[in-house]
Symmetry: C2
Subunit: 264 residues, 2 copies
DNA sequence: CGCGGACATTCACCCATGTTAAGTTGCCGA
DNA sequence: TCGGCAACTTAACATGGGTGAATGTCCGCG
């Protein structure tokens, strides 16, 4: 189960109906590059990506810009937006984007109706931190080729939810300029690297699609190791956390408490 | 209130007694460079730094190493260590280190006795993610001088819990080599930068102490903006989150639920 | 059909940072 | 007191990746 599937995977079928109805009711579109949230603002809504990609980013006073992470369909964007007094980073649409925006009062009602929702969201926040750590080491230690290869691997795996050994393709909505902003490189140099990867027949990027003929080769180039995505863990762990902290529960009556446990 | 003070600040005086007794009972020392946790292992205990510094780090197969963040006295190390199936990063002592290690069963008992503990810990996890984001942009966008200046600013502010305008000094336990691992630079280049900062009378590092004659100057060099540390927010926000998700509570009977809210 | 904008590509140049390899200092333990 | 190690300095040299600017390519729109 990947990041995008966490919520669906942990809900009961009844809860899933409520959840999906709520998403549909609150859908909203953004144009390419539009900001969903800006650094320093007061966060106002819980957001879930329905279609398209969003980018978390931060901008320095002189204009330098770093993409901190991507938010793919099905993922939350972003949990601390709901907890913190002032957001410390911005979020924008990569291209045309469709999100569900759930206001505070609505969210409150939703959480009461879907007790399994909270644990799922907490889990997603923890994974988000793990991914951020991987980005830090990626930018800090890898060279340009490895960085780009790693980014492509992550995007591929996150969309397929399986670190498959063979090849395949997936959506890819970033421009080379955005890849550069994400990896701390220049657009020109990303272009050099992408061409090098192309020459080696490691990847082909075209028409908003990423093709990876041989995933194992690309993963080797990047020293990619998918464990930081913690694929497949959430269901097991929310359960484990519940038992750990609330062993006297039958697991259904007050499962909302499990959320707490899962975050500790 | 800074990261290190979160727990103390949010507990009632009775809870604080229990908490501190528990810490004292479970104290344990590590030698310089010893690992408290290793990537890929199953996490076993909740840890709180009592004295000294710890470093979160990640190592690549070929030996390249990136320090992902520091854990200062009073801080937790690390929350997801308690949630995840396999740790995705390692933790080591920077120098001689004293921590409290609380086993799972003990932790469970502790959380039952101190309902305000959980919200505090959740909050700390969220701040941890924010700090990680700042490190990403630091390494991705800033040049060597700015990076080092930023690191020094963060360490200074985190230890004083106040982004003061004047000057002052604080503990500083990192070697130049460790600073290099943290900022994605080489030890040699960190040395060049430190000397440059010294020449400009921006900092002096000596005897495990960091002296900053003029914090404003250093902050300007680094484009340092302390908001990502969310200083002073936790007490307010745990309260806010509680009211948001559990408006029918009087705020004392089941405050443990506030933890959940604070993480969403 | 042709224009304009967004993106990709290429090139020449050069600088910030890495590399390697000596020193040098200073502390700690025998 | 001395030896030895860890940390810090310094220097000469190498290079990955940045800069700036021009050109190419595609695509949507009037």
């Amino acid at each position: 189960m990947g990041l995008g599937e966490i919520v669906n995977g942990l809900l009961t079928s009844r809860e899933r109906l409520i959840w999906e109805a709520s998403l549909a009711r609150n859908a909203r579109d953004y144009m390419k590059r539009a900001d969903l949230a800006r650094e320093g603002e007061r966060p106002v809504a819980l957001r879930i990506i329905l279609a398209g990609w969003a980018q978390k980013y931060k901008q320095m006073p002189d204009g330098r810009r770093q993409i901190l992470g991507l938010v793919l369909p099905g993922e939350l964007c972003d949990l601390d937006l709901f907890t913190v007094a002032r957001t410390d980073h911005s979020i924008a649409a990569v291209r045309r984007l469709s999100v569900a925006e759930i206001s505070r009062p609505d969210a409150q009602r939703l959480f009461e109706q879907c007790p399994n929702l909270a644990p799922a969201l907490c889990w997603a926040a923890i994974i988000g931190a793990a991914v951020q750590r991987e980005w830090t080491i990626n930018i800090g230690q890898r060279n340009a080729l490895e960085r780009v290869a790693q980014l492509l691997c992550e995007i591929y795996v996150r969309q397929r939810d399986v670190p498959s050994g063979g090849g395949g393709s997936c959506d890819f909505l970033l421009t080379q300029g955005q890849m550069a902003e994400a990896m701390g490189l220049t657009q020109v140099h990303v272009n050099r690297v992408v061409q090098q990867l192309r020459l080696r027949c490691a990847v082909e990027i075209r028409n908003m699609r990423l093709e990876i003929p041989d995933f194992a080769q690309l993963a080797a180039l990047a020293s990619f190791n998918a464990t930081y995505l913690h694929l497949g863990e959430p269901a097991m762990l929310v359960e484990r956390a519940r038992m750990l902290f609330l062993p006297d529960l039958d697991g259904r009556d007050r499962p909302i408490d499990g959320a707490l446990s899962s975050a500790i």
